[in-house]
Symmetry: C2
Subunit: 284 residues, 2 copies
């Protein structure tokens, strides 16, 4: 109705989390019709409810991205379904912070570049709230999150949260967003807007954007868990769906059966939904 007020940035992020997870099918990921064995659709809903008060804190002066992020991860994990929104929040928190600032959403690069060592410490602390998939054996020169003295090392080396993401960018496309101006998040938003302009259907817009993202780059969560070849195969299959050669439902069934979930792509999609809702390209 016309007299309803607009959503705040925090509410918009919550809605983005919910629309992303509800949209179906997103091959390999949780949606309204598909649970994972350990993490269900309802866990994602619960997580979105839990995170809101933390996201609202992004508007407060003196509350950094790391603090908001850690608080949001902690509050979102009151369900028993394992990791739900760790990656999505890593993108949404800076976007929400930028939206609350006078400079607006476009200032998200400054928001992440200005993160401090203290933000980084809170980021490391957030791993204690949830079981996030972390590769053991990488070339990345960062303190090990599973090592007790990690935050001491963060402080000693003076690593900001941006530094941490910069070092991780090579193997993690969520971290890569931080050092590339959230380029794929804005691209995702463009895909959503385009499909929404054509179809006026939220579900179709979100799932189309998902497939386009998935077809463009190997999902880094799939690559970490299952190797480069599997990730490349998934990418090619998404391409095949867009060309009309394979159905999204068939790929969905296959990936769910094999336990292959392109979670990084879903995280970036959440950021895209957020941007589209904020900028008005997607409406309900």
């Amino acid at each position: 109705m016309s007299d309803a007020p607009g959503l705040t940035p925090a509410q918009t992020a919550q809605l983005a989390m919910l629309l992303e997870v509800a949209s179906d099918p997103k091959p390999g990921n949780v949606d309204r019709r598909h649970d994972h064995s350990d993490t269900t659709f309802l866990d994602f809903i619960a997580s979105s409810v839990g995170a809101l008060p933390s996201l609202r804190r992004a508007r407060e002066d003196g509350v950094g991205v790391g603090e908001v992020f850690e608080d949001a991860v902690r509050r979102s994990q009151f369900h028993s379904g394992g990791n739900t929104h760790f990656g999505a929040l890593l993108l949404l928190v800076p976007l929400v912070s930028a939206s609350y600032s006078d400079a607006g959403l476009g200032s998200v690069s400054s928001v992440v570049e200005e993160t401090t060592v203290e933000d980084s410490v809170r980021f490391y602390d957030s791993f204690s709230h949830v079981d996030v998939y972390v590769e053991d054996d990488t070339e990345i020169d960062l303190p090990d999150v599973n090592h007790e003295g990690a935050t001491d090392e963060v402080r000693e080396r003076g690593l900001t949260m941006y530094d941490v993401m910069e070092a991780s960018a090579e193997i993690d496309d969520v971290a890569r967003e931080w050092v590339t101006g959230f380029g794929r998040s804005f691209t995702a938003s463009g895909y959503i807007d385009e499909a929404y302009h054509e179809t006026r259907d939220v579900n179709t817009s979100v799932t189309t954007a998902y497939l386009r993202l998935l077809s463009e780059r190997r999902d880094t969560l799939v690559e970490k868990k299952h190797g480069r070849e599997v990730a490349e195969e998934v990418r090619r299959q998404a391409e095949d769906i867009l060309r009309g050669g394979l159905s999204a439902e068939d790929l969905d069934s296959a990936l769910l059966d094999e336990g292959i979930n392109p979670g990084t792509t879903a995280d970036i999609l959440s950021a895209g939904v957020y941007i589209s809702l904020r900028e008005g390209g997607l409406r309900l």
Copy 2:
């Protein structure tokens, strides 16, 4: 995770709204797999996001049930999908207010009995935000919500919000909750707890409670829209499902086809989910 903080009453209400609408199948109503032609699953999600800031206001001193309700209806209706949570909020707002008070959830009867004429005026105002189904031709002696001078009449006659619900209780089971100590809401919660204790499955618990409620009393929204016979037939069909004679999916298809939605039962179910989440009988 064990270190996650509990949800506030407002967050719990939001989660209850989301779990109620997500649970499937609920014959005739919107769920994660079924939209109505005018109102979709995603509209209900959006509505739950919009309502939260209003629900939080229930903890403020001097903010009455009517004001919170009107604000929640207004904020929830930013989508274009028509009425989503009018009835559910009419139950959740007093329950949330009671939960924020020192006396707790059990004091919900006092909360509604203490409503004022000003609450009633705000309740009447809330009809301007959304197209709610209201019967034209009833014996109920109340100011007509579609009449411009309705709130003046409310003030002249000194009708509190409780008085309005008392007068409506005969034809509307949501209003009836106000004057019967939220009896069926607590009953619904009992059904949910029982099923959850047995199954540990949120979806099954919510849908089982829905069918039990539906089998016990004619849904008043169905009765208003389609008459007593249709409402009674739906009640008997729910009974039949519980006896194993009919499948919930078949009744769901039939009711959706005919546009028969037992919305009152869904509203009371939302209140039941809220109570179960608050009291710990239902967990995620």
